[in-house]
C-alpha cells in the first residue's frame, strides 16, 4: 500500500523549497543552490520509491483529492492520480531537476543574479509535477499555466539584456565573422513575452476543449467532478447533442481543443516559433524546461487524455507532428547557433512523439510516444548541459562557425555529448534506438493498416529522422572535431569543474539502451502491445532507422569531417549550389517573419491602433479636449467623438432655445405670428 501523503510531499516539497530559497540573499547563491538541490534530491529519492511501487503494482494509484470549488452541477478539485507513465515522469522531472541544479551552481558561479535561479526553478518543478500527478483536467490546466509562468520567468532570467542587434558587445563579436540568424535574436524580455503569448494561443484552445467536455458531460446528465479522468473516460459512450453537434463531433472538438493546448506548449507547427527564441534563457533552464520536461508536457497531456481522442483527432495529431518533425529538422540543418540547432532538434523530436501518438493505441503509438519522451528527456537534457559547458568555456560565444577542436580541452563534455548524439540519432545500444524504432514501427503499423493519408506522418517522420542524425553529428563535429578555428574564444576552454563534471558523467548511462530495457520494465509499464503485426513492423522500422542513421551520419562525416581535413569547404559549396533551399531553411521557412507580419504587426499593432483610434479619436482631438474646442470631423470620428457630438448638438439646440428667450419683443411677435399662421393654415386645410 502506498501512503497517500507521499505524492503530496513530492509535489509540495519543491514549492516549499522555492518559498524558502527565495528569501536567500543575492550574495549567497551557493547556499540557495545547495538547499534547493538537496531538497530536490530528497524528492527524487521519494519519487523513485513511489515509482517502483506504482510500476510493480498492476493498477494506478488514486491519491487524496480535495474539492476546490463547488458550483452545483460542476465541481472543481485537486487530487493525485499516478499510473506508471506518470510515476516514471515524476522521477525524470525530479532527477533532472536535481542534476541541473547541481550543474547550475557551477554554471552561474560568477553571475551576480544566480541566487534567483533556484527558487524560480523549484517553482517550475512544482508546477510541472502538478501536471504530471493531476487527477483531473482542471488541475492539469491550472498547473499547465503555472508551468508557463515558470518558463516565462526563466526565459527572462537576464531581463536587462538587450536584443542582439542593440548589444555593442555582441556587435563586436559579430564583426569577426559570425553568420546565420544570430542578428535576429530577440532580447530575453521579448522572448519571454513571445513564449507566454504563443502558449496562451494554445491555451485558448485548451479552454475551448474543457468547455466542450463540460457541455458534453452536463448534456449527458452527469454532474460533480466531471473533469476527473475517471469521469472523462466514460464520456465517449454518451449520445448528447449540443448546438446541433453530435456527441462524436463534440468529442472531436474537445480532443482538438486539448491538442491545441499541447501544440502551444510543445511548440508544434504552427505555434513552434516561440521555442527557439526561448533559448535566450540560461542554458541550464533550457535544458530541462525547453527540452526535457515542460515542452514534453503537451505529449504527456495528449497521452493522458488518449482514451478520449477519436480517430479523426488522432489523425490531425499525427499530421501536425509529422509536419513539425520535418520542418524543424530542415531548419536545424542550417543553423549556426549552438543552441538554435538543439532547439529545433527539440521541436523536431517532439513532432516525432506526436507522430507516434497519432498512430493510435492499437499500433502501440501511446507507448512509443511516451517511451521517446522519456529517452529524449535524458539525452536532450545532457546535450543542453554540454552546450552550457561549451558556452561557458567560450565566454558566452554560441557561434558554431567559430568553434571546433574543443574535444582536446573538454574531453568529458565531448564524450558525453557524443553519447547523446548517438542516442538522438538512434544508434544501436543507445536509448534512442529503442524508442525511435518504436515510434517508426507504430507509425508504420498504423499506415499499413489504414493506408492512404496515414502514410504522410510516417514519411515525414522518416525524413525528419534522416536529417536528425545528419545535423546532430554536424553539430558535434563543428564544436568538438577538427582544430580550433578561433583562438580568442577557445584557448581557455576547459571541462566543467567539480560537481558539474560528475553531473555529466552521471547522465551518461541514461543515453544507453540498457536502463530502459532491462527486464522490459518500460514496455510493461507502458503496456506496449506485442503481436505478429507489431514484430513485422518493428523489424522493418529497425532496418529503415538503421539505414537512415548510416546515411545521415555518413553524410555528416563526409561534409563536416573528411572534406575539411582535405581543406575543402564542401558545406559552403553545397549551400551556394542549393541556395534557394538553403535560404528558405535558414530563413526558418519564413514562418517567423510571416507570423510577425500577420499577428504582431497586423493584428497586434495595426488593428489595435485602429480600434484605439476608433474609440477615442485622433491624438489631436485628445489634446484639445479641455478647451472644449470643436475638432475636425475626421479627428473626431470615433465613439467618443460621437458622444461629444451629441453633447454639442444639445448645446447648440440650447443656444437656439436661449435666443428665443432673449427678451426681444420683435422675436416673440415673429414666432407668435408664425405659429399662429401655421395653426390657421392647418385648421383651414383639415
Amino acid at each position: 500500500m502506498i501512503p497517500g501523503w507521499l505524492p503530496l510531499v513530492i509535489w509540495f516539497l519543491p514549492l516549499a523549497t522555492a518559498l524558502i530559497v527565495s528569501r536567500v540573499a543575492w550574495s549567497r547563491a551557493a547556499l540557495a543552490h545547495g538547499v534547493a538541490a538537496s531538497a530536490m534530491g530528497v524528492t527524487t529519492l521519494l519519487s523513485i520509491w513511489l515509482a517502483k511501487q506504482v510500476v510493480s503494482s498492476d493498477h494506478s494509484m488514486i491519491g487524496p483529492h480535495v474539492k476546490w470549488l463547488d458550483l452545483g452541477s460542476i465541481v472543481l478539485g485537486f487530487g493525485v492520480y499516478l499510473d506508471p507513465m506518470g510515476a516514471v515522469m515524476t522521477v525524470i522531472v525530479c532527477l533532472l531537476a536535481t542534476l541541473v541544479l547541481l550543474f547550475n551552481a557551477w554554471y552561474m558561479h560568477d553571475d551576480e543574479q544566480a541566487a534567483r535561479f533556484p527558487w524560480q526553478f523549484c517553482f517550475f518543478v512544482f508546477a510541472m509535477l502538478g501536471v504530471v500527478i493531476s487527477d483531473n483536467l482542471f488541475q492539469s490546466f491550472c498547473c499547465w499555466e503555472l508551468v508557463g509562468l515558470g518558463s516565462y520567468l526563466l526565459i527572462g532570467f537576464w531581463f536587462q539584456k538587450p536584443a542582439a542587434s542593440e548589444d555593442p558587445g555582441y556587435q563586436a563579436m559579430q564583426a569577426k565573422g559570425a553568420r546565420g540568424v544570430l542578428l535576429q535574436q530577440l532580447s530575453p524580455a521579448h522572448s519571454q513575452l513571445k513564449a507566454f503569448i504563443m502558449n496562451r494561443v494554445g491555451d485558448a484552445g485548451f479552454l475551448i476543449g474543457i468547455g466542450a467536455l463540460l457541455a458534453i458531460a452536463l448534456q449527458n446528465g452527469k454532474s460533480g467532478e466531471v473533469l476527473g479522468w475517471q469521469n472523462l473516460l466514460t464520456l465517449r459512450s454518451g449520445n448528447a447533442t449540443f448546438l446541433g453537434l453530435s456527441q462524436g463531433a463534440l468529442m472531436t472538438v474537445a480532443a482538438l481543443g486539448i491538442f491545441c493546448g499541447a501544440v502551444g506548449k510543445s511548440a508544434q507547427f504552427p505555434l513552434h516559433t516561440w521555442l527557439p527564441d526561448a533559448m535566450q534563457g540560461p542554458t541550464t533552464a533550457s535544458s530541462i524546461i525547453h527540452a526535457a520536461t515542460m515542452v514534453a508536457a503537451g505529449v504527456f497531456l495528449v497521452a493522458r487524455c488518449y482514451p478520449m481522442f477519436p480517430p479523426e483527432a488522432l489523425h490531425v495529431v499525427g499530421w501536425i507532428g509529422g509536419i513539425t518533425c520535418f520542418i524543424a529538422a530542415t531548419i536545424a540543418c542550417v543553423q549556426w547557433d549552438l543552441k538554435a540547432v538543439l532547439a529545433y532538434s527539440t521541436v523536431s523530436q517532439l513532432g516525432l512523439m506526436f507522430v507516434a501518438l497519432g498512430a493510435g493505441e492499437e499500433a502501440g503509438g501511446r507507448a512509443a510516444g511516451i517511451a521517446h519522451l522519456f529517452t529524449h528527456a535524458m539525452f536532450k537534457c545532457l546535450l543542453f548541459l554540454c552546450a552550457g559547458a561549451v558556452i561557458h568555456a567560450c565566454h558566452g560565444q554560441q557561434d558554431l562557425h567559430r568553434m571546433g577542436g574543443l574535444r582536446k580541452q573538454m574531453p568529458v563534455t565531448a564524450f558525453a555529448s557524443l553519447l547523446a548524439v548517438f542516442a538522438i540519432g538512434g544508434a544501436p545500444f543507445f536509448s534512442g534506438f529503442y524508442s525511435k524504432d518504436a515510434v517508426l514501427a507504430a507509425a508504420l503499423h498504423h499506415a499499413q493498416s489504414l493506408g492512404g493519408s496515414a502514410w504522410g506522418p510516417f514519411a515525414l517522420a522518416c525524413g525528419g529522422s534522416l536529417l536528425t542524425s545528419a545535423y546532430m553529428l554536424r553539430w558535434w563535429l563543428r564544436v568538438f572535431a577538427g582544430s580550433l578555428r578561433d583562438h580568442s574564444i577557445g584557448h581557455h576552454a576547459h571541462d566543467p569543474s567539480g560537481f558539474a563534471k560528475y553531473v555529466l558523467v552521471a547522465m551518461m548511462p541514461f543515453t544507453l539502451l540498457l536502463p530502459f530495457t532491462v527486464g522490459d520494465w518500460l514496455d510493461r509499464a507502458l503496456l506496449a502491445p506485442h503481436g505478429e503485426g507489431h514484430h513485422e513492423a518493428h523489424s522493418m522500422a529497425m532496418v529503415l532507422a538503421l539505414s537512415m542513421l548510416a546515411v545521415g551520419f555518413g553524410f555528416a562525416l563526409l561534409v563536416f569531417w573528411l572534406a575539411p581535413r582535405r581543406g575543402k569547404d564542401l558545406a559552403g559549396s553545397l549551400a551556394s549550389t542549393l541556395w534557394p533551399l538553403h535560404t528558405f531553411c535558414s530563413e526558418l521557412w519564413f514562418f517567423d517573419k510571416l507570423w510577425d507580419l500577420l499577428f504582431t504587426r497586423g493584428i497586434g499593432r495595426t488593428l489595435a491602433a485602429i480600434t484605439a483610434r476608433l474609440d477615442l479619436g485622433s491624438a489631436e482631438r485628445l489634446r484639445g479636449l479641455e478647451s472644449f474646442a470643436a475638432s475636425g470631423r475626421l479627428a473626431a470620428l470615433s465613439i467618443d467623438g460621437l458622444v461629444d457630438g451629441i453633447g454639442s448638438t444639445c448645446r447648440r439646440l440650447g443656444r437656439v432655445g436661449a435666443s428665443v428667450h432673449a427678451g426681444r419683443l420683435g422675436a416673440y411677435l415673429a414666432i407668435a405670428s408664425l405659429l399662429g399662421a401655421i395653426g390657421l393654415l392647418w385648421g383651414l386645410l383639415r
Binding site: 468547455g211 477615442l616 479641455e626
Partner: protein
C-alpha cells in the same frame, strides 16, 4: 436604534462633517481611515458570516420609516452579493486613503469628499429600498465630480463634466421608472419601494403598461442603460478613459475598484429580480454586449500608450465577463459575474496604484518612456508582475476564478452563449498580450533612461497600500471557496427567481 449597516452610511457622513469642521489635515486622514475601516469591518464580517453559513437570506436587516406617504423606508440589509460589495468598498477606500496620505491640496476637503463618496456607495450596496438606492446612486456623482474636477490632471474639467453628465443622463430613466412603479402598484396594496416586495411583484410589472409599452420592458431598459453606462459596457464606455486619466491615483482606484461595480450590482439587485422575463428575453443581447466589451476593450488596451488609459481599457474588457456571466443564467456564470466584480476590484486597484507609483517618480505615463525599471525597482516589478498576471487571469491568482467560471457558465449555457464564449476565450491571449507587453516595456529590457537608474523602490507607505491587495489576490486565487460560497447561494436564489419567470 442604529444598526451596523446604518453605521456604515451615517458613520462616514458624520466623519466627513468632522473632517471639514476641524482644522488638522492629519486628523482628516485618520477619519478617512476610520470610516473605511468601519465599512470594511462590517462588510468583511457579513461576508465571513455568509461564507460560514451560506444562505440567500438578507442579514443585518433594519428598517426605519422614511415617509409613510411614499411608502419609503430607510431599509437596509445584505445578502452575500452586497456583503462582498460592501467589504470591497471598505477595503478599496482604505487603500485609497493610504495611497492619498500625502495629498497636499486641501486634504481636509479631499478626505471629507472621499468619506461622503463612501457613504453613498455603502448606501447603494446596503439598502433594500429602491428610493434609497436611487438617491445614493445619484448622490455619489457629486463627490466624484469634485474629486476629479478639483484634484484631477490637466484636462480635469472636461473629464469631470463628461463623467457627471454621461452617468447622470444614463440614470435619468431610473427616476421615471421609480415613479412608474409607484403608479403601477395595484389598488389596495400599500405603496412600497422595498426591493424584496418589488421583486415578488414581477408579474404586476409584466402585465401593466406605460404609454403602451409593457412596464417591465421599459423598466428593464431604464435600469439596464443606467447600469451599462456605469459598468461601463461598449459603446457607452468612453467617459471612463477620460475620468481615469485625469483622476488622481487614489480616485482612479476608487473608480475602478468600486464605482464600476455599482453597474453590475444594479443589474443583480434590480434589473434581473424585478424584470426576470426581460432578463431571459434579452439575455443573449446582454451577452453579446459583454463579449463585444471584452474584445473591444482588450484590443483598444493593446493600442494604448498612456499607462492609465491602458489599465482603464483593461477594466472595460474585464467587466465584460460580469455581463457575460450574468446573462448566461447558469450557476457558474451568475456566480462568476460577481466573483469577477470582486477580483477585478482588487486587481485593477493594484494596477492603478502601481501606475501612480511610477507617475510619482517619472511624472509621465507614456509607456514608451520607460524601460528596464526592474533593475532600480525590483519590488515594484515583482508587484507589477503579480498585478499583470492577475489581470491576465493566471491560475493561482484571483483574476482566474471569475474568468474561468464565466467560461464554464458560458460553455454550458443555452444556445447562443457557447458561441459567444468561443469569442470571449480570445481574451486570454489578448489580456496576456497587453498586460505582459506593458510589463516588458516598463520594467524589462535595458534601462532606457539614465535618470531612471536612481528611482527609489517602493516606499513603506506605498507597500502598505500595495501588499494587502497582493495578499488578497493570492489568497482568493488559491482558496476561492469562501468567497464563492458566500456569493453562490444568493446567485442561485436569483437564478431560481429568474427561471421562475420562464413561460
Amino acid at each position: 436604534m442604529i444598526g451596523s449597516l446604518s453605521l456604515t452610511i451615517l458613520g462616514p457622513l458624520a466623519l466627513a462633517l468632522l473632517c471639514v469642521l476641524q482644522p488638522k489635515p492629519l486628523a482628516a486622514r485618520f477619519f478617512a481611515l476610520l470610516g473605511s475601516a468601519i465599512t470594511l469591518f462590517v462588510g468583511a464580517g457579513a461576508l465571513i458570516d455568509f461564507a460560514q453559513h451560506p444562505g440567500s437570506d438578507f442579514r443585518l436587516v433594519e428598517s426605519h420609516v422614511w415617509s409613510t406617504f411614499f411608502g419609503a423606508h430607510f431599509a437596509l440589509g445584505v445578502d452575500g452579493i452586497s456583503a462582498a460589495m460592501l467589504a470591497l468598498s471598505g477595503l478599496v477606500t482604505l487603500i485609497a486613503t493610504i495611497a492619498a496620505w500625502d495629498e497636499q491640496r486641501s486634504p481636509r476637503a479631499y478626505h471629507a469628499l472621499v468619506l461622503f463618496l463612501l457613504a453613498a456607495m455603502n448606501g447603494v450596496f446596503g439598502t433594500l429600498d429602491f428610493l434609497v438606492f436611487y438617491v445614493s446612486w445619484e448622490v455619489l456623482l457629486v463627490p466624484m465630480l469634485a474629486l476629479i474636477g478639483v484634484w484631477g490632471g490637466e484636462q480635469r474639467r472636461y473629464a469631470a463634466l463628461k463623467f457627471f453628465v454621461y452617468t447622470l443622463a444614463g440614470s435619468v430613466l431610473m427616476l421615471a421608472l421609480l415613479l412608474a412603479l409607484y403608479n403601477a402598484t395595484p389598488k389596495g396594496t400599500d405603496h412600497t419601494f422595498d426591493l424584496r416586495t418589488l421583486a415578488q411583484m414581477w408579474p404586476v410589472w409584466r402585465d401593466s403598461t406605460l404609454f403602451g409599452w409593457p412596464l417591465a420592458r421599459f423598466g428593464f431598459f431604464a435600469v439596464l442603460i443606467a447600469c451599462l453606462v456605469k459598468v461601463p459596457a461598449v459603446p457607452v464606455h468612453t467617459w471612463l478613459p477620460h475620468a481615469h486619466v485625469q483622476a488622481p491615483t487614489a480616485v482612479s482606484v476608487l473608480l475602478a475598484g468600486v464605482l464600476l461595480k455599482l453597474g453590475v450590482y444594479g443589474l443583480y439587485r434590480i434589473a434581473w429580480p424585478l424584470f426576470p422575463g426581460e432578463a431571459i428575453a434579452f439575455g443573449p443581447m446582454i451577452g453579446v454586449i459583454g463579449v463585444i466589451g471584452i474584445l473591444w476593450g482588450a484590443w483598444v488596451a493593446l493600442g494604448q500608450r498612456d499607462l492609465k488609459r491602458l489599465v482603464a481599457y483593461s477594466s472595460v474588457s474585464h467587466m465584460g465577463f460580469c455581463l457575460l456571466g450574468l446573462a448566461s443564467l447558469t450557476v457558474a456564470g451568475v456566480t462568476a459575474g460577481m466573483v469577477q466584480a470582486v477580483t477585478h476590484g482588487l486587481s485593477s486597484s493594484l494596477l492603478f496604484l502601481l501606475v501612480g507609483v511610477i507617475y510619482d517618480r517619472a511624472h509621465h505615463r507614456d509607456v514608451q518612456g520607460f524601460g528596464g525599471l526592474a533593475k532600480p525597482m525590483p519590488r515594484f516589478t515583482w508587484i507589477l508582475l503579480l498585478g499583470a498576471l492577475a489581470g491576465a487571469g493566471l491560475p493561482g491568482l484571483a483574476g482566474f476564478i471569475g474568468e474561468f467560471l464565466a467560461f464554464c457558465g458560458g460553455f454550458t449555457a443555452a444556445a447562443p452563449f457557447p458561441l459567444l464564449t468561443l469569442f470571449a476565450v480570445l481574451s486570454v491571449v489578448l489580456s496576456a498580450a497587453y498586460m505582459l507587453w506593458l510589463l516588458k516595456r516598463v520594467s524589462y529590457g535595458p534601462l532606457r533612461h539614465e535618470e531612471h537608474a536612481n528611482f527609489p523602490d517602493c516606499t513603506p507607505r506605498e507597500l502598505a497600500s500595495l501588499l494587502p491587495l497582493c495578499a488578497l489576490l493570492v489568497m482568493v486565487g488559491i482558496w476561492p471557496g469562501p468567497l464563492v460560497d458566500a456569493l453562490r447561494s444568493s446567485c442561485e436564489a436569483l437564478l431560481q427567481h429568474v427561471q421562475g419567470a420562464r413561460p
